[in-house]
């Protein structure tokens, strides 16, 4: 599997996701500078990593979404290529129009870093085949603007289209509880219509080793590797 991890000015979790992809696939992902106009030939997966691109000035992800490389990412997505946006990467995806909705300031108005339970809403996608439907996983969150908001029609479209990837929940899987940031319907991640673009606020890439918090994040990278390996 060939993956490309985009680095923007202010990206800071690119190394974390590179480590997770390498662990899952055995292949070192390529680091791509945001000023590049093209993705490497044969790229299977593009990752927009976490961070605070452009200092979160204007709106989180807004300036990065206008980077030269984003045209190439858009065209990759249009052709059905896989795109994963984590945290600031999710914010860049909504700012660039690849996913609907917006990520507002957390309801509590504070940056939150902690371990967080998620419910895997569907397991039949390129990103989640290694999980079971409704499985509860524990990963990290670290964001100040993760409050997912969209108009009623958009939410209905996402819900009816089965495009919710993950919801925040408590240890028992109750999505009414444990919502850390006020997101509508406890939405932690969403898919594009064709399920090839995933944006999520939590950090599965930080939960890949028993010694460092746990291994619940591995499934996501294993799923992508299995999908591309099979293709």
């Amino acid at each position: 599997m060939k993956s490309a991890v985009i680095t923007f000015p202010g990206s800071n979790r690119e190394g974390d996701v590179i480590r997770a992809l390498h662990q899952a696939s055995g292949v070192e992902p390529l680091k791509i500078w945001h000023q590049d106009h093209e993705l490497p030939q044969g790229t299977d997966l593009v990752v927009l990593p976490g961070g605070f691109s452009y200092g979160d000035y204007l709106r989180c992800g807004a300036i990065a979404s206008r980077s030269p490389v984003m045209d190439a990412v858009r065209s990759h997505a249009t052709k059905g290529g896989l795109v994963l946006g984590i945290c600031n990467g999710f914010q860049i995806l909504v700012e660039s129009g690849l996913l609907p909705g917006v990520l507002m300031r957390n309801a509590g108005l504070k940056f939150i870093c902690k371990m967080q339970h998620l419910k895997v809403c569907r397991a039949n996608t390129p990103f989640t085949s290694a999980y079971k439907k409704n499985q509860i996983i524990k990963v990290a969150i670290a964001h100040g603007e993760g409050n997912y908001i969209a108009d009623d029609d958009t939410i209905a479209m996402l819900e009816d289209g089965n495009r919710i990837a993950f919801r925040y929940c408590d240890a028992e899987g109750d999505t009414e509880k444990g919502n850390p940031n006020g997101s509508i319907n406890s939405i932690a991640g969403i898919y594009s219509k064709k399920l090839n673009v995933l944006g999520m606020m939590p950090h599965p890439e930080n939960l890949i080793e028993a010694l460092v918090g746990g291994t619940d994040g591995r499934g996501l990278f294993a799923s992508i590797t299995a999908y591309k390996g099979a293709a």
Binding site: P9, F52, H203
Partner: protein, 672 residues
């Protein structure tokens, strides 16, 4: 402002220079200084940059050990951590600006005195460390990072002045950090260092361009010539005086290998940062500043630093306080209730509200998160790691600066030992009041002596540090606060211990001597309402012996949990272990010959709690302790959802947790 205006006594005073210090300048250069030169002297000779009140006493601190690569005097301290790697660390304060610009520091003003100490720890290859010392004549001096503005002018002078209610007038001098620009600068510098183009590097911190350039030149026995017309400026019409004293953040000064300018510039352009060659090294040992073709300053570079005033300020020793006999204190409330009250008091309440607002999981190497004795961070892919902690008990330092200084180091040592680390070195941040007052100066002097004594006895040298004096508002100084940041090495991060009780029915052992020391204790202050008595003495030999014993238990894999005892004593340590593991304990036995409140809340030093998996292991450990000459006592067993102490009513974990977790969030929302 003209550069060659007459220097009046008023102007000298406005620059924070005393008349005798100004005379020293006149003697040194043999003429009246220009305005820019006066500014440069005031920046270099203030307390923050010259350590003029503390330097004499700091000399007594131990700074060497076989693993120390770089001690104090550089940008940061460096120690060898094995495998060709080094750990680089430093603590900084941002005390004075935080008082004026509350929003950038903390929300609340507590008595007007806010201490903000931050410690940064990094990893480097041991043979790829860059220093501030310039080498070679005629090499380009490069300015990197953000543009220079008028912010922070005389920040370092301000950081050496006490505040009064007119502090608002000083607002324009506060520099505001930009983490994004800092991140870009960091990335660009690291990338540039890979190219081999860097000879020397120094950040522009307090006193900005002045102090960074002087330090690079003076350390390398070279002169420095700067052309200010080349300095990237954010504002127009900046004078030489303003540019030399600006404390705009996110700026670095480098000496480059000649011929590498283009390569270096390309990297900075890539990161969207300013890059400008603003001068060169010379063989004149002069610090020459030019602007618009005119010489604005021409000063002897070595003397700017070396000839800074050095004061042996008068000081008085804090009077010794009497010891408190535990039997003489009648507990005003039951011990169970006192535990709940303490665990929900500012000193012991959970600081989750704070640490959850900082990203402590990034890089995926956090083996032990905040909330334990020390953080444990894996280095790269492991198995090696680092144990990090910061400690000080200002209450002790006020009561007895010498013992308090010792205790701060001893607690950092214990915290590193308790997670399975080997204590290696410290950085310190000495936050004190006005050194011109003999009582506050006495606190500084004796705290430093205490720190030094403990560092020496524990092989725990000081490799970097910071001094922040004049922390007082309206005549009232802060409690003496010599913050100690400790770094330890961990051979294998999979073999560290946490404080959490792990399983039901494990045996709890207390290591160390308990005499029921209540003087200056948290219990005496918070429960009995008495802030008095001598603080607990620190027996450094016992610290070392007990630490070695605990280390051996952890290395052999016998300790299932470990926690050091500090303020709040045995009771608080037990409660913290129970809360961390969400598991109670039944204690059958307490140290003998003491009233319960003294056994539970006494703050005797050099103690740890450990759990072991069963009775047979407990017996082995007790025997090992006995032959090592280490006092050890079996207290009871883990299990259940209550903490039960002999002769006291059981305390539910739920009640403890509520008290522990609720206080800080409620306080911050103004509910209490």
């Amino acid at each position: 402002m003209q550069n060659n205006i007459a220097i009046t006594p008023e102007l000298v005073a406005q620059h924070g220079l005393k008349p005798d210090e100004y005379q020293r300048i006149l003697d040194l250069i043999g003429r009246e200084p220009t305005l820019t030169e006066l500014g440069i002297f005031s920046a270099m000779w203030n307390e923050h940059c010259s350590y003029k009140s503390s330097r004499l006493h700091l000399k007594g601190l131990p700074t060497k050990a076989p693993w120390v690569i770089q001690g104090p005097g550089e940008n940061a301290g460096v120690i060898d951590i094995g495998d060709g790697l080094a750990c680089v660390f430093k603590m900084e304060s941002h005390n004075h600006p935080s008082y004026i610009e509350g929003q950038m520091g903390f929300h609340t003003r507590y008595d007007g005195n806010i201490l903000v100490n931050a410690m940064a720890v990094g990893i480097a290859k041991a043979d790829e460390i860059f220093y501030a010392k310039a080498t070679g004549v005629g090499n380009p001096i490069v300015y990197l990072g953000s543009k220079t503005g008028r912010d922070g002018i005389h920040g370092a002078t301000m950081a050496s002045a006490a505040f009064d209610d007119a502090a608002e007038e000083k607002r324009p001098t506060v520099q505001v950090g930009d983490p994004f620009a800092e991140k870009l600068l960091l990335e660009a510098c690291l990338e540039l260092m890979q190219t081999g183009a860097v000879i020397a590097i120094q950040d522009m911190g307090a006193a900005g361009l002045t102090s960074s350039a002087v330090e690079m030149g003076a350390k390398g026995d070279l002169g420095i010539e700067l052309d200010l017309d080349k300095v990237p400026c954010r504002e127009t019409g900046m004078t030489a005086y303003e540019m030399m004293l600006s404390e705009s953040q996110e700026r670095m000064l480098m000496v480059l290998q000649p011929g590498k300018e283009k390569e270096a510039e390309a990297i900075f352009i890539k990161w969207g940062l300013d890059f400008a060659i603003i001068g060169k090294t010379t063989d004149t040992l002069r610090f020459v500043i030019k602007q618009h073709g005119e010489v604005m300053a021409d000063l002897p570079i070595k003397e700017l630093g070396d000839q800074a005033p050095l004061y042996d300020r008068p000081f008085v020793e804090t009077p010794k306080r009497p010891e408190i006999d535990p039997k003489s204190v009648t507990p005003p409330m039951g011990n169970a209730n006192a535990i709940v009250k303490l665990i929900g008091s500012p000193d012991f309440a959970s600081k989750r509200w704070v640490w959850e607002q900082y990203d402590h999981l990034i890089l995926g190497n956090t083996v032990q998160s905040p909330g334990g004795d020390a953080a444990v961070v894996r280095v790269g892919e492991g198995p090696r790691g680092l144990a990090l902690t910061s400690d000080v008990t200002p209450r002790y330092c006020e009561a007895d600066p010498f013992e308090g200084g010792k205790q701060a180091v001893a607690e950092a040592y214990r915290n590193i030992v308790a997670v399975g680390g080997t204590p290696r070195a410290i950085t310190d941040n000495l936050n004190f009041g006005n050194p011109e007052r003999p009582d506050y100066m006495g606190q500084l002097v004796y705290c430093i002596r205490g720190l030094g004594e403990a560092c020496k006895a524990l092989d725990f040298p000081v490799v970097s540090g910071n001094v922040s004096l004049y922390n007082e508002t309206n005549g009232r100084g802060i409690l003496p606060t010599p913050t100690v940041g400790g770094v330890g090495t961990v051979e294998d991060v999979s073999k560290t211990t946490t404080l959490a009780f792990k399983a039901e029915g494990e045996f709890i052992l207390l290591i160390g001597v308990t005499k029921g020391w209540l003087g200056s204790s948290a219990w005496l202050a918070t429960i009995a309402g008495r802030e008095e008595g001598a603080p607990p003495p620190v027996d450094l030999e016992a610290e070392r012996k007990h630490g070695a014993f605990i280390s051996s238990l952890i290395q052999d894999g016998h300790a299932t949990a470990c926690h050091d005892l500090s303020d709040g004593g045995l009771a608080i340590a037990l409660a913290e272990m129970a809360l961390a593991g969400n598991m109670g304990a039944k204690i059958d036995k307490l140290p003998e010959g003491l009233p319960n409140h003294a056994a539970l809340f006494g703050e005797d030093q050099g103690r740890y709690l450990v759990t072991v998996k069963d009775q047979a292991m407990a017996a082995i450990i007790l025997k090992r302790a006995s032959s090592a000459g280490v006092p050890a006592l079996m207290l009871g067993k883990t299990g259940g959802q209550e903490l039960t102490l002999p002769g006291e009513s059981p305390i539910s974990l739920e009640r403890l947790k509520k008290a522990h977790e609720d206080w800080l969030p409620s306080y911050m929302t103004g509910e209490i």
